[in-house]
């Protein structure tokens, strides 16, 4: 990794007087095995590297990237970023991060054992997963796909303002997509297991999840329209929290695009709700020692006792808001500059188990999957409408499966309509963790 730090530092050192330069350098190695019907369908091995360079000169910013660490290409990329800056608007708040004295929490996100894990065993794992899904239930008609995937990624960031940072992580995952049913009746279910090392991954868990999710929807019908209390499975809660975190982006607030702007200090949810973004939690999937600008990641409380505490900021948004960065700069690899985002958001678990929540709620809908998040959730207006699948329940007991309907409300109302928070915190491969969450008075649109 030292070579990445060297490259980043060298580029930052090329800053001209009156200019700030930031280089983000990344390299990744990944393997993906896809199996189908007992054979290897594809095996991809990939190594990629690239650099993203930001230049601020005369309070204008430019950015350029290249998918190569070749010295000539890196130099050209800097020149291109410099040229781009000349066409941007002057903005006095622009500026790169500089060391703020907060020490990164050292996290152990890298496992050497991944590099030693032979390809044959990755193939065997994917094949075994497919076998387990197929054997899991006679009603499983096909396994559309079963995967092994792993990646080892490293990155370094350096600026002419004194930032030098690096981080690295390994990830392993398996996933399977099961198809259940016969004739015209078909249901599907996805199962996965994720970890930092091969030994963290559980084939049995992933298989059981895929089988259970596909088979329990067999016989599902389109429900009648009406208002229901929904009980969201942890996966669905995580999806909702990731959307919610997006509305707490300090930059969106400054630009008048957050429905929570000017609501700090107000009750936006029920008193029992505490929402925190904590990338320093080593158990979180999105755990990170530094953010995308090289500042230490830190724990940020967003909602406490239902009251909105504040927003997330990167350096730019912080300067504009007259405060400091919350260490929440994120980027989508070397091809983009730093935006603002949560990495490890979670609701503090409550006291009740999922079964207890269903018993208390009595009658409602257990939601096991949602679709159309991008097309049906408007994070500016708060309108929320997504396709869903799940099980109706009565008297606290699961009843019939339902499909081909939507659930709808607004983000604002859903936060206020939370009626129960589960004790079943689940780490998911997402910027949010899940737990069971019950929300009242949601519109279910079916027949």
């Amino acid at each position: 990794m030292t070579d990445l730090v060297d490259i980043a530092t060298r580029v930052a050192g090329w800053a001209r007087p009156g200019e700030e330069v930031e280089a983000y350098v990344a390299r990744g190695k990944s393997t993906e095995v896809k199996v189908f019907e007992g054979g290897v369908e594809s095996l991809s091995v990939a190594e990629s590297a690239g650099v993203g360079i930001r230049v601020i000169a005369g309070s204008r910013q430019g950015f350029a990237y290249a998918g190569s660490l070749d010295p000539d290409v890196v130099a050209e990329t800097l020149a291109e970023a410099r040229d781009n800056a000349g066409f941007a608007t002057v903005d006095e708040h622009l500026g790169l991060a500089s060391p703020d004295g907060v020490q990164p929490v050292e996290l152990d996100l890298w496992r050497d054992e991944l590099a030693l894990f032979p390809t044959d065993q990755k193939i065997d794992a994917a094949l075994e997963l497919e076998r387990l899904v197929r054997a899991g239930d006679p009603r499983i008609r096909q396994v559309e796909s079963a995967y092994w995937g792993d990646s080892a990624s490293q990155s370094a960031v350096a600026t002419s303002t004194g930032i030098v940072g690096s981080s690295r992580r390994t990830t392993c995952y398996v996933s399977a997509y099961a198809i259940a049913g016969e004739g015209t009746e078909t249901q599907t279910g996805a199962g996965y297991s994720v970890g930092r090392a091969p030994s963290d991954v559980s084939l049995a868990e992933a298989a059981a999840d895929a089988v259970d999710r596909a088979t329990r929807l067999l016989g599902a019908r389109k429900p009648a329209s009406g208002r229901v209390t929904v009980v969201l499975e942890p996966r669905i809660t995580a999806t909702l929290l990731a959307i919610l975190a997006g509305t707490l982006d300090g930059e969106a607030v400054l630009k008048g695009r957050s429905l929570f702007a000017s609501r700090v200090g107000e009750a936006v949810s029920v008193p029992g709700l505490i929402l925190v973004d904590d990338p320093t939690d080593p158990e979180a999937y999105g755990a990170a020692r530094i953010d995308a600008e090289g500042l230490a990641c830190r724990r940020n409380v967003l909602i406490d006792g239902g009251v909105l505490q504040g927003f997330l900021y990167n350096t730019y948004a912080g300067r504009r808001a007259g405060r400091s960065s919350t260490g929440s700069a994120v980027r989508a690899g070397f091809k983009s500059g730093p935006g603002v985002g949560a990495r490890a958001v979670a609701v503090q678990p409550g006291e009740s188990s999922p079964a207890e929540i269903m018993a208390t709620v009595g009658e409602g809908l257990l939601v096991q999957s949602v679709s159309g998040i991008h097309s049906g959730v408007n994070p500016v207006s708060g309108d929320f409408s997504v396709g869903a699948e799940g099980m109706l329940f009565r008297g606290g007991e699961l009843a019939e499966p339902v499909r081909e309907f939507t659930i709808a409300s607004t983000i604002q109302r859903m936060l206020l309509d939370v009626v129960a928070i589960g004790n079943d915190l689940e780490r998911l491969p997402s910027s949010a963790a899940g737990l069971t969450l019950a929300i009242a008075d949601v519109s279910m649109s079916g027949v």
Partner: protein
């Protein structure tokens, strides 16, 4: 990009340890983007990526590796990695004669975007911002993006195919936020085509800005969308994504082959209303999804998928076509040289019918009129799909009336296709889209005339 002799030697290398097929896909891509937000030109970005992906097929197994190093040693190393991945047995030496595939370019690009000064691109955004903000004091925020991309690709394979393409695409989009008593609303408009800077001869950014602003402003008085099944009329050009989701993905031969499509085994059957003739067409002029060749070196095609309601054919890539002993339909596409190709749509559209579009609304006593759809998502195995409406109105007594807040619509693909009961005579293509499948995004177009679905579930909150 790469010398023919090198291509031949690398393909030979890839098959040295055995194997049925080897392919080199090389790509040189440049992107540029300018973003205006909050009244400022916030960002100018440019990017360059080049490299090659090499696949080797042994029996049913594909090995794949990619490299950013286009030198002969770099390519040979990738070829060896791909061959090892495919675990080829039975060594042998093969010589490969390459024959160039000629394909008509989608349409000659008049003005290459890279030749246009950055200042002109920035100026375009400034004009759009100014016009959108002048639409009314309720417009509080505007963001606009100009982007262009040039993708030069080269494909050579052990079947002797040698083909190249130069794909230039340009797009523009604008989003507005309006603030009213009932909170904030958004309006968006986007255009894009497989052309250069001449995109702006065809579209006036000021007009697009007015459209986006008026969308946001109108929605300020929008009421919640209905909840439940109602007749839905979709405006010409506003909802091609319906077909993309309802059946497009389900007609991709890779999903069909995995038993993950409700349309499996249904060729020759009536799967839709007789009013439905659906085409996927990569050769379509300068549309957003147009290509000269696909990413496997096959010429783009115009493929009729559904004719008068009867399923005629699926879409095919090389791999799936080979299994079936037939030709590819030119639908093998990939996001970049770092990805394996798979079956993807290009421009997918419903042919026009005969009805007067205004008459369709008049003949609908009660329902929802959708003027613009956003994205969607489908589960091809069950056929259930959703798509979002971003501009919609109630239809009352055969007239378009109050605007509705955003919501998703949900339906079952086969059922919706059967429930299309009127098709208008007013065909239009829609906004440029990016279709995601297995984590890969590719540009796709869609289009349709005004049409009515007898019954579709609207996922709003109104009783």
């Amino acid at each position: 990009m790469i010398d023919e002799g090198v291509l031949q030697r690398v393909l030979g290398d890839a098959l040295r340890t055995g194997g049925d097929f080897a392919e080199i896909f090389a790509e040189d891509r440049r992107n540029s983007l300018a973003r205006l937000d909050d009244g400022r030109i916030e960002e100018l970005m440019s990017g360059r990526e080049r490299g090659a992906g090499i696949r080797v097929v042994v029996g049913e197994t594909t090995g794949f590796a990619h490299t950013a190093d286009l030198s002969e040693p770099g390519l040979r190393a990738a070829a060896e990695a791909a061959a090892a991945a495919a675990r080829g047995g039975g060594a042998g030496v093969r010589t490969i004669d390459l024959t160039r595939v000629t394909a008509p370019a989608p349409k000659a690009v008049t003005v290459l975007p890279e030749s246009v000064p950055k200042a002109s691109k920035v100026e375009l955004l400034r004009r759009a911002d100014e016009v959108a903000r002048s639409a009314g004091g309720a417009i509080r925020q505007v963001s606009a993006v100009y982007a262009d991309g040039r993708r030069q690709i080269l494909v050579a394979n052990s079947d002797g195919v040698l083909a190249s393409d130069d794909q230039v695409k340009t797009r523009f989009s604008i989003s507005c936020v309006a603030v009213g008593d009932a909170g904030m609303q958004t309006g968006r408009e986007s255009v894009g085509a497989t052309v250069g800077w001449e995109l702006f001869d065809r579209y006036d950014v000021e007009e697009l800005a007015r459209l986006a602003a008026s969308r946001a402003l109108r929605k300020l008085s929008a009421r919640p969308a209905p909840s439940g099944a109602v007749p839905v009329v979709i405006k010409s050009g506003g909802g091609g994504v319906l077909f993309h989701e309802a059946c497009g993905h389900g007609l991709e031969a890779d999903l069909v082959g995995r038993d993950a499509s409700v349309f499996r085994g249904r060729r020759g059957e009536q799967v839709a209303s007789p009013l439905v003739t659906l085409v996927d067409d990569g050769t379509m002029g300068s549309e957003w999804g147009a290509i000269g060749i696909d990413d496997e070196g096959h010429r783009a095609g115009r493929n009729v998928l559904i004719q008068d309601g009867v399923l005629t054919d699926y879409m095919w890539d090389w791999m799936r076509a080979r299994k079936e002993g037939r030709d590819s339909t030119g639908n093998g596409r990939r996001q970049s040289y770092q990805h394996l190709p798979m079956v993807r749509m290009t421009n997918t559209y419903l042919l026009a019918g005969t009805e007067d579009p205004e008459e369709i609304v008049r003949q609908t006593p009660h329902g929802v009129y959708v003027a613009q759809l956003g994205g969607g998502q489908v589960n091809t195995a069950t056929g259930d799909f959703v798509f979002g409406m971003t501009e919609a109105y109630l239809i009352a007594d055969g007239h378009i009336s109050e605007p509705l807040r955003d919501a998703n619509l949900i339906g079952s693909g086969p059922e919706v296709l059967r429930n299309i009961d009127v098709v208008g005579n007013d065909f239009n293509m829609g906004s440029p889209g990016t279709c995601g499948k297995d984590g890969q995004g590719v540009p796709v177009g869609d289009g349709q005339p005004t049409l009515r679905v007898r019954s579709l579930t609207v996922g709003g909150t109104a009783a």
